[in-house]
């Protein structure tokens, strides 16, 4: 059952081969068995999950089930969920039980999905290895001495070890795609504005976007169908016609299913900075795409070299302001002893935030300060426009852009923890996509020394269905995604 696709699982539930309670219990048991080694979950609440499962079973019994009814889903602990501890991986929120549901949580709830638990993450989504979590690092199921990537590392490890059929994540600079690549998963970052940010704890508001982490592109399409949609509580949510992201997946394949698709290969993604083994695997995947009928064309994204620098101005700037509400006044951690108001602020925040969060608050505060704003923040916004223009230019020549997701396979725990710049560079291929607000998917493309590697497909705005189709056709012929780590029986 745990290797069933979401579609197959839904069929088993609809046919009453298995109940949602049984399915949920199956995963809860697996969490009990395997989570202590992985540390993928921060919170599980079996009673709450099973109550939802029972409700789903009633719905299924009435024949009213949808594609996700009764299926347990793990949620990144960045989404507020009513009556659930919602920590965002931080000591600051270690006592915060949310009184309301995020839009993403509500949508899964309406679809009848079962909330399986809250997954570990880098603190406030700031990290690429899941090592900044107050709740400790997550281990990569493919090699316990390696990181799973971040910041959605708990979600990725949970799905990779089959502790959950699928999970949600958020992606501000690669936080869905990079862990997907490092854990042999499919992970989609939608176009900015497609999924409501309401109730998703903000890191960098203009970059944050929620998306699915699944075992296949087809699973991601089913999840995105539930997650996407206009929400008038989020002013940056886009009010557009709903679409069925699965619609292209069922089309008859034929011999050249991707004939007519032009894939752009940016030279900036294939030079120095990417490990030889990842480059080799991605190049092999390009050959597979040609076999599927796609054409390839060399393109350039000249401003790409500026993306990481611009990102590390804009994201911390927004974060420094977004995290100001965590002041110990109304909720969250408050220092036990303090002399006066300023002392309470200083101590509560000094105790409540970890080192990486403090580093980014400091950077963000600095770049917004009087006298530095123009040189840093405004300059970074200019770079952001250049990057968006590069992509617009590229999409005149191709339909999708292909490259590696991450420059390497999973690195060792602690390997980059002491060097923030090295850590920041692990998002070198994903960050520009967030700056431009584009959709992109990472899918497995093989293994190097037993560790998975991912390739990234970037599309134009609202081309999620096309990306999912291009990923799905590849997965039909190159089933790397079906491989799963040993040791999680």
């Amino acid at each position: 059952m745990i290797e069933h696709s979401l579609q197959a699982m839904a069929r088993s539930l609809a046919d009453r081969e298995i109940s949602s309670v049984e399915l949920t219990q199956l995963y809860l048991d697996r969490i009990v068995r395997h989570n202590s080694g992985l540390n993928a979950f921060i919170t599980v609440d079996p009673a709450a999950s099973l109550a939802q499962a029972r409700a789903a079973d009633e719905r299924l019994a009435r024949g009213e089930g949808g594609p996700l009814t009764g299926i347990p889903i793990a949620h990144k602990d960045i989404f507020c969920a009513k009556d659930w501890l919602t920590t965002c991986g931080s000591k600051m929120l270690s006592n915060f039980v949310s009184p309301y549901d995020a839009a993403v949580i509500s949508r899964f709830g309406e679809a009848g999905a079962v909330m399986l638990g809250k997954t570990n993450m880098d603190e406030f989504a700031m990290g690429s290895s899941n090592e900044t979590s107050f709740y400790g690092p997550v281990r990569n199921p493919w090699d316990g001495s390696c990181v799973p990537g971040g910041s959605s590392g708990g979600s990725a490890a949970a799905v990779a070890a089959r502790l959950a059929p699928a999970a949600t994540g958020t992606d501000t600079g690669g936080s869905i795609r990079q862990p997907a690549a490092l854990c042999n998963l499919s992970g989609l970052k939608p176009t900015y504005g497609v999924v409501s940010r309401y109730g998703m704890i903000a890191f960098a508001s203009s970059l944050d976007q929620a998306g699915p982490l699944g075992r296949s592109a087809a699973d991601c399409a089913i999840l995105l169908n539930v997650m996407a949609g206009f929400d008038d509580r989020d002013s940056t949510s886009l009010d557009r016609q709903r679409e069925d992201y699965c619609r292209e997946l069922a089309a008859p394949a034929g011999n050249k299913p991707l004939a007519g698709l032009t894939i752009g290969l940016p030279e900036e993604f294939f030079g120095e900075g990417c490990s030889a083994e990842v480059t080799r695997l991605v190049e092999a995947a390009i050959a597979e795409y040609r076999k599927l009928g796609a054409e390839t064309v060399a393109i350039r994204l000249p401003s790409m070299g500026l993306a990481v620098a611009a990102y590390y101005v804009i994201a911390p700037a927004e974060a420094s302001s977004n995290l100001a509400r965590f002041d110990g006044v109304r909720y969250g951690h408050r220092a036990a002893d303090y002399r006066d108001l300023t002392d309470m602020y200083c101590k509560s925040r000094a105790q409540g935030f970890g080192a990486e969060v403090k580093r980014r608050i400091l950077i963000g505060t600095y770049v917004l300060s009087h006298g530095y704003y123009d040189a840093y923040y405004l300059q970074a916004q200019r770079v952001r426009r250049l990057i968006a223009r590069d992509f617009a230019e590229a999409f005149r020549q191709c339909d999708v852009i292909l490259g590696p997701t991450s420059p390497s396979t999973a690195f060792k725990l602690g390997e980059k923890a002491a060097d923030p710049v090295q850590m920041y560079l692990s998002d070198i291929y994903t960050i520009a996509v967030n700056l431009a607000g584009l959709p992109a998917i990472s899918i497995p493309c093989g293994f190097a020394s037993g560790l998975p590697a991912g390739l990234q497909l970037i599309g134009n705005y609202f081309s999620e269905a096309r990306l999912l189709h291009a990923a799905h056709r590849y997965q039909q012929e190159n089933p790397w995604h079906l491989q799963h780590p040993d040791g999680f029986a």
Partner: protein, 483 residues
């Protein structure tokens, strides 16, 4: 002593009369128990997002149109970052570089003199909550409390150019602005509840000097009297400081109404760096022409235009027209009165509204909107005085009756109580003949040249008719008979 020139610019925070807050659906009603009108967005729970209330934007557009300003097609909400317990997000959403209203002007009168004050800008922002401290009826057991009911209430911050030259001009500006905001229906103007608060930037310079002196900003003045007192104190303090060889340092000051003095709160050195940047949670505010035109079509006639029209159409004096246009309610009441009384009685209507009605309202501490006598009733009454049906004195009695709810219309009261003025010659002549026959002595006195006797006879006639005789007709007929 050198002659000094005073330079004042005013920043006004006006709470906008929208039902909901500017970025959340909570109520803005005043006076609820602490934190009952604060929802997830207002208390800044993790993950919540602001959504702009279009009603607040409409208020800003109305203001812009009323002062002849430019309505920006595109304006930006920014974050003003600072920590304070009554600021739940750690930043205030405000407009900074690109405000919604740019320029415009306000005409003020100081005595007989009129002056046009330029406005710099007006921008939308959210109000903060309130910190509650021990005392003032609070039982907080040595701690401070936070009430977030006010957090997120929409504010329009209106900034004048430094063109005011005295405390009197500053007060005239504030009063005119206050009246205008109420006139166009965007602010209830309740200063006790904090709906209208002024900050005054005050500096002095030797007359003839082009450069401004160093200014100090007096914060949070919530009455016209305090505005006047604070500026007067501040001006004399600045002049005294300079004349004694000192220097005015740029500072933010508070006015203490008890001592009547201003006191420095913080200097320029500890001024905050607010780290403004565009709020990524909100899209640029786009206002298209059709929206502006639609609001323009719903705007009431503005005070100055109405004043000029009252003078031109009804022949009122400038003084009367000014008084009648102090509020839209009063002006509307007056015009409705004229509509019922007829344009020929416009001047009489002005007197009734400004004197009789105003005195009665004042006595009972009522607003014009609470008058028991409707404009239509008053107009009908004035029409009956105008056409001679009743005398002015009977009119006052009917007005009292209407005020006390003793009838629905003046005509009904006149008819029911038989108060019609007696003007027809035949009834009056018969009455006068009886009167003359009964008072030969008075007739003799009159004939002997005593005018007083004539008045006494008129009085007798009025008394005999319980005031209903038309005094003018009585005089005419009496003179004829005695002639």
């Amino acid at each position: 002593m050198k002659p000094w020139e005073v330079v004042i610019g005013i920043e006004t925070h006006a709470q906008l009369s929208t039902r909901a807050k500017i970025f959340s659906g909570s109520s803005t009603a005043f006076g609820a128990a602490p934190n009952l009108q604060a929802n997830a967005v207002d208390i800044a729970l993790p993950g919540v997002l602001p959504v702009l209330n279009k009603g607040a934007v409409e208020c800003a557009i109305r203001f812009g149109l009323a002062v002849g300003a430019k309505i920006a097609e595109r304006s930006i909400f920014a974050r003003k970052n600072y920590f304070y317990p009554d600021l739940p997000k750690g930043y205030q959403i405000s407009q900074y570089e690109l405000p919604v209203v740019v320029g415009g002007s306000l005409a003020i009168s100081v005595g007989e003199r009129e002056k046009l004050i330029s406005l710099t800008r007006a921008h939308l922002e959210e109000d903060a909550g309130k910190s509650l401290h021990e005392g003032a009826g609070q039982q907080l057991h040595g701690r401070s409390g936070i009430d977030l009911n006010r957090a997120g209430t929409p504010l329009l911050e209106i900034v004048s150019e430094p063109e005011l030259r005295s405390a009197a001009e500053a007060v005239a500006y504030a009063r005119t602005l206050h009246a205008l905001l109420r006139w166009i229906g965007i602010c209830d103007g309740n200063m006790q509840e904090g709906s209208f608060r002024c900050d005054a930037n005050v500096s002095v310079r030797p007359i003839g000097q082009a450069q401004f002196g160093t200014r100090r900003e007096i914060k949070n003045l919530n009455s016209f009297r305090f505005l006047q007192q604070a500026i007067e104190y501040e001006v004399q303090w600045q002049i005294a400081t300079i004349e004694e060889g000192g220097r005015v340092e740029q500072a933010t000051v508070l006015f203490d109404p008890d001592s009547g003095e201003t006191r420095a709160m913080r200097s320029k050195e500890d001024a905050h760096d607010y780290r403004y940047f565009p709020d990524p949670d909100l899209l640029p505010l786009l206002i298209d022409r059709p929206w502006v035109e639609q609001i323009r079509s719903q705007m009431p006639e503005l005070p100055l235009a109405k004043r000029d029209r009252l003078i031109a159409d009804y022949g009122l004096s400038a003084y009367d027209a000014n008084v009648l246009t102090t509020s839209l309610e009063l002006a509307d009441y007056y015009e409705a009165t004229v509509a019922a009384a007829g344009k020929a009685n416009a001047k009489t209507c002005a007197n009734w509204v400004m004197v009789d009605l105003a005195a009665r309202l004042n006595k009972e501490d009522r607003e014009i909107g609470e008058s028991p006598v409707a404009a239509e009733q008053l107009g009908a009454l004035i029409a009956r005085i105008g056409d001679g049906t009743i005398s002015t004195n009977i009119g006052r009695k009917i007005f009292d009756a209407l005020w006390n709810g003793e009838g629905s219309s003046p005509d009904e009261i006149i008819f029911r109580q038989g108060l019609q003025q007696i003007s027809d010659s035949s009834s009056l002549e018969a009455l006068l003949d009886e009167l003359l026959a009964a008072n030969p002595a008075m007739v003799a006195e009159f004939r002997a040249g005593k005018e007083k006797a004539f008045n006494a006879l008129v009085g007798q006639a009025m008394k005999a008719t319980r005031g209903k005789a038309n005094p003018q007709r009585v005089s005419e007929l009496l003179r004829k008979k005695l002639g």
